[in-house]
């Protein structure tokens, strides 16, 4: 079977290369998918920082709304874990999760109880443990029953403002790197460069797609699901702010956008159909925090959503990868 499909590839290849070179495809993804997401992240995190400066009350509607918009922007870009997001551990500084050992509440409690002066400057704050930085730490300060009221109110306010400013600064750094160097690097591979060929660039993009799908399936959905006998609703991502299901939707929509730019016409309809399945089920679920993983009747609905994301992974690996001539390569989820 393998030989059949490969010879077919040889027959059609010459015609198809004229239609679109990989470089045009790379440009489309950089300009149409990547850059708009990091512009949105930079803008919305600056707005978050401004909102925190104006009103640091954890229950402030404007602060919480700005937080939600900025976090949405991050989740939509969260699969792009290479280059500027890897530099200086920026993606980790924005998003440390899952946190299976409770490092985030522990680190925040320590800062609050000691009134650690490092929180007086966003610049200094970049030295702090990633557990106390980024969107997931801010969620505890804004939504956790204990931590939203913990410590000296003045210090709590300053910590909220500093974490918000640190998020904005990190996001600005990512955008700057993309605009000044990395967009060029991806579109101009060279033998001495980060990427030696268009194929290596395409592999990076393909890897983002496959790793993003893996993370959403195994972690965003898999952690709260646990096992049938031992579901783990308290492990759902950002359940305190009621955003768990929304994150799965946002990530799938963003991954669908990336996938649609990578596929050819033959696969396009199939892939679109495959993405529709988990998305429509998520819209129907009406369980923002996946709390119903413990109830057999609703649990099965979430299991089916996870299975439909797994089906996309399989399609991407077995059909899209060979079409592109690349494989997923290694990713950060390979460890145990």
């Amino acid at each position: 079977m393998k030989h059949l499909s490969l010879s077919f590839a040889i027959m059609v290849a010459p015609m198809m290369c004229l239609a679109e070179t990989p470089n045009a495809l790379i440009t489309d993804i950089v300009d149409g998918h990547i850059l708009p997401r990091f512009v949105a992240l930079s803008d919305s995190t600056q707005a978050l920082s401004d909102a925190a400066q104006a009103d640091c009350d954890p229950t402030s509607d404007t602060l919480r709304a700005a937080y939600g918009t900025a976090f949405d922007a991050w989740v939509s870009a969260s699969h792009l874990r290479f280059g500027p997001t890897e530099t200086d551990d920026r993606a980790f500084a924005l998003a440390f999760w899952p946190d299976s050992r409770g490092a985030t509440p522990r680190a925040l409690s320590a800062l609050l109880s000691k009134q650690d002066p490092i929180a007086t400057s966003a610049q200094d704050y970049a030295e702090v443990s990633i557990a106390a930085r980024g969107f997931y730490a801010l969620e505890f300060l804004l939504y956790d029953e204990v931590l939203m009221a913990a410590g000296n109110p003045g210090y709590h306010c300053q910590l909220t403002q500093t974490i918000s400013a640190d998020i904005a600064s990190t996001s600005q750094g990512i955008l700057d790197d993309w605009q000044t160097t990395y967009a060029f690097i991806m579109q101009n591979p060279s033998p001495d460069g980060v990427y030696r060929s268009d194929t290596e660039v395409l592999q990076e993009m393909f890897k983002s797609l496959s790793t993003g799908l893996q993370f959403t399936s195994e972690t965003r959905l898999g952690r709260p699901l646990g096992t049938f006998d031992r579901p783990r609703p308290t492990r759902a991502e950002v359940r305190r702010s009621g955003r768990s299901s929304a994150h799965v939707i946002l990530s799938l929509q963003s991954l669908q956008d990336l996938a649609s730019r990578l596929v050819d016409d033959a696969l396009s309809a199939k892939l679109s159909d495959q993405f529709e399945r988990p998305l429509s089920r998520l819209f129907d679920l009406e369980d923002p925090t996946f709390a119903s993983v413990s109830e057999p009747q609703t649990r099965i609905k979430i299991e089916i959503i996870q299975q439909s994301v797994e089906a996309i992974r399989t399609l991407v690996r077995d059909e899209l990868g060979p079409t592109l001539g690349v494989a997923a390569g290694f990713n950060s989820l390979d460890g145990d």
């Binding site: 590839a9 239609a19 409770g102 680190a107 077995d318 060979p322 001539g325 460890g335």
Partner: protein
Amino acid sequence: MKHAFLSSTALLVAFATPALAVDKAEVLDTYADIAAAKYGDSLTTAQTLQAAVNALVANPSAEALQAAKDAWLAARVPYQQTEVYRFGNPIVDDWEGKVNAWPLDEGLIDYVDASYGGPSDENELAALNVIANPTFTLSGVDIDATTITPALLEETLQEADGIEANVATGYHAIEFLLWGQDLNGHGKGAGTRAWTDYAGGDLCTNDNCDRRAEYLVAATDLLISDLEWMSAQWADGGSARAELTSNADAGLAAILTGMGSLSYGEVAGERMRLGVMLNDPEEEHSCFADNTHNDHYYDGLGVQNIYLGEYIRVDGTLVSGPSLSDLVSETDAALDAEMQNKLSATMMSLGRIKTAAEAGFAYDQMLERGNEAGESLIMGGVNGFIDQTRSIERVVTALNLDQIAFEGSDSLDDPEAVFQ
């Protein structure tokens, strides 16, 4: 099919490749021979540990405890070099958690300092303390632990309640029983468990010395039986060897999958970079014994010696044969040179961490917030591992293995699946 030309180019290259002098089957044999040697060395050094543990329990003394610690440290040298066999070989993955699971909530096993805290949101059993409690309830079931046996550790306590941090067996459980908690935070020094934790009668400290000894002996016995089993899987006719060699390309992909996954996701990511980013001394791989610098070093050495097909056994003899390096060299000599250089650069970086630690700059200190020298040392190792992973990916592509590597056991179990 807009990018199908890439596949056709690859195909043309494949047709143009001359018959290779290096036999893939021989490369796999070398890999399996080295596995047999490494697991064999892990077993013999663990047997030395067992003798030292038995001597400690029979005649507790400061000297006997130190001898057991020394034996544990020596046993880690060959074992860490086997970690490169994980991720690519399902038989190793299914087994590995029993001997080297980490991190652990040590309060499951024995007494801990008050600063440790009690049961956590993630783990209700984090402070169970089996040594102090002959009977207890676990997920609603009454457990009789009046006698601590290998079976109790393996079947009841290990990963109790489905939580991976409930580590009851393996090197790190033994490490905790020999060293105790490291309460120095970011300061120098390992755990300081007194030998009197194993003493009889009135000399016994922290209570339950008999049960502690029973636990230590049971965990060590279990380690031996687990290592015996894995050594047998790699011997002639063993099932790990048979599975590896059943399909030459899938076998080569398994080697590279192990090299890449250990380098990137596991050691560079989970073990090294996360610790620096969290500034947390609990993120040390061997946090009780302060042996983390060696864990990383020998993990890196394992990746390098698999590629080069050369392993120095604990008795000093060399096991070697036709290697992946030889195979790559025939296909693309420049890529082989690149791969060798990257592996050497990683070992240089890991050597810097090791020498600094041995000279007194403890790994805990390197992790402290604001310690730039420490961060730079550790990130040197991280960057080496990440950089060599890119070359490992290139090797996968150069050997035309990219549609069967990377997906771990799923596709290795069924290499044809990806072509369907």
